[in-house]
Amino acid sequence: MKEKPDTLEQAVLTEYKYGFVTDIDTDVIAKGLSENTIRLISNKKNEPEWMLDWRLKAYNHWLKLEEPKWSNVKYPIINYQDIIYYAAPKPKKQLNSLDEADPELLATFEKLGISLNEQKRLTGVAVDVVMDSVSIATSFKEQLSEIGVIFCSISEAIQLHPELVKKYLGSVVPMTDNYFAALNSAVFTDGSFCYIPKGVRCPMELSTYFRINTENAGQFERTLIIAEDESYVSYLEGCTAPMRDENQLHAAVVELVAHTKAEIKYSTVQNWYPGDKNGLGGIYNFVTKRGMCKGDHSKISWTQVETGSAITWKYPSVILKGDHSIGEFYSVAFTNNHQQADTGTKMIHLGKNTRSRIVSKGISAGHSQNSYRGLVRASKQATNARNYSQCDSLLLGDKCGAHTFPYIEVKNKTAIVEHEATTSKIGEDQLFYCKQRGIDAETAVALIVNGFAKEVMNQLPMEFAVEAQKLLAISMEGSVG
């Protein structure tokens, strides 16, 4: 038997490297969802009355909704009573900085390649870490607060900056928006909060690292980023989870608000556990991400590298409200084995002279299904709106599928919407060609996939581009280190 992968099928076999479980003391509430669960969560987080009321309103709305069925993904019925809605690593004491965190926790993140201590200072990245339901600690808080930047967990923001949270929470993704957004609004446990004051260019990358650790726990994080006039911030999120045979639910909501001339760049490297090669286990990633270009000349740019999750259902969107505002969406979605991804974006042009650009690269391998679903809407008032969309699909092998669902709604005659799509296939012929040149199967697949995804990868902040490229390589290959 040869040990090295030879065929395309072997070369794209996934080995998930982040699947370990941290043995740590965790505060877990009983499975199940009811008003009482929500009261319990709110109580554990010592939340003010208004927050609890908001959650309960969302919960009551959620009860009236039905799970959406329109996406191109298949999964068994989720039993919402079989999920743990709150699990928190027990803090030994109140933490002032990450350096004081439980060594076991720090070790966990070291193992994941995320250094939470001094080291990160060199690369200039501030990190917030969320394990299961709570934020463990945030680095660089003080340095950031000196220039007025608030970067903390959403729980802390609810305590310390209630006026901001009240004003913006649900302003971009209303609790009534969709099934999973309503659920998240009811039970969200933690997430990040960023506030960039007027005229400030945030000097470092802000990043949040999400980790699901506890069995049967759902992760429902909530992220809110506000960029005041003429400010700039680049934010990155990453995520991983242990390997488990049962599926786990992740239903996050992210809201971005960009005021006049502000720019938010939001990058995601999503690597939740995708399930094993037979399709057992993995995260259901049902996420609502939306940005509002509220002010004139504002800009929001989404970049995502999606390699994990058994099922991904997510459409980071931009509402282009301000005149001359710009929305961008750059995406690489890689699916392997039995993964299913239904992802894309919505660009809603409301203001005049608004522009949007969509670059989607879908890569499917194994038996996976990869769908791009995108909506470009130009409203009546959106004079001179422009959109350019490019959706490319790459099929590795012949058992996988790629699908493109572009929806275009134009109500203003001056709007111009362009859509281009390509599908290419990598088969044994291409692989043989590479091997005949001395390039082995693994390297060949990495070369092909990285070449295909380059345009999107180039959008990532430097430090993460390298990580993301490695991640993409690891997701596809059995043994390339």
Partner: protein, 254 residues
């Protein structure tokens, strides 16, 4: 350098090669000719190590090694090069990056350091001049949207870059107009050297007007039915394949 002994090969259970014998020494140019479907590309694929083909009998030694024991990529790294009859397109991978990967994989195998950017560029420049290939072609995705002639020229360019010990050229002349044929043939001629052997697979003898072979073999129905010097090619040109194949068929029926 290459010694092929009684090779039989199947695809999907059907025997295509029915006992091939071939000996090639360094510096020699051998031409394999034969009608379509006779097994020329199959022989090239089997030597290069394409998995779909099952070798049921025979042995091949290459530079003293058992070729059939080596993986496809190791055969390449040992110095076996195949210029494809139908080079495939690989979207998203620039020709330059592809060749760089190939060159460095080979160097790694041979225990050499990877070429740095400067050295690689220098080598590219030299070889580009040698085979008269346009630089613009090399920044495009490999073979994607290339014309037939551009694809073949790109194959010869890769051969120049990889400096193989044995180059198998599978109908590198087919589909080329006379100018392109001359350029490609010139490129190949420049790559001839005393320690490099070339196996030219061709359907027509016109390529042999430009590249003088030392030996000519006629492959028919999975066997080499006739071998000779370059005069054999001329005879084939004149009389057609029938004069040999009829003979073979006749013998088979007796």
């Amino acid at each position: 350098m290459l010694s092929v002994k009684n090779i039989h090969a199947n695809i999907d259970g059907r025997e295509i090669l029915k006992g091939i014998n071939l000996d090639i020494k360094p510096g020699e140019v051998h031409a394999i000719m034969g009608p379509n479907g006779s097994g020329k590309s199959t022989l090239a694929s089997v030597l290069a190590g394409r998995e779909e083909y099952e070798v049921t009998e025979g042995a091949v030694s290459f530079l003293g090694k058992d070729l059939l024991e080596l993986s496809t990529e190791d055969r390449a790294r040992e110095g076996l090069f195949l210029a494809f009859q139908y080079p495939v397109e690989i979207p998203g991978v620039s020709t330059t990056n592809f060749i760089k990967a190939a060159v460095n994989e080979k160097r790694k195998y041979l225990g050499q350091e990877p070429l740095d950017a400067v050295a690689f560029l220098k080598m590219m420049k030299e070889k580009m001049a040698l085979v008269e290939i346009d630089q613009r072609l090399l920044s495009r995705s490999i073979n994607e949207g290339f014309s037939g002639g551009e694809k073949k020229r790109n194959e010869v360019f890769q051969m120049a870059m990889l400096e193989p010990k044995l180059a198998i050229m599978d109908e590198t002349d087919s589909g080329l107009d006379i100018d392109a044929l001359r350029i490609v043939a010139n490129g190949i001629n420049k790559l001839r050297s005393p320690d490099r052997a070339i196996l030219l697979i061709t359907h027509y003898q016109r390529l042999l007007d430009y590249i003088q072979p030392d030996y000519v073999h006629v492959l028919y129905n999975g066997r080499i039915v006739k071998s000779g010097t370059k005069e054999l090619a001329l005879e084939l040109e004149e009389k057609g394949y029938d004069f040999i194949t009829d003979e073979v068929d006749l013998a088979a029926n007796q």
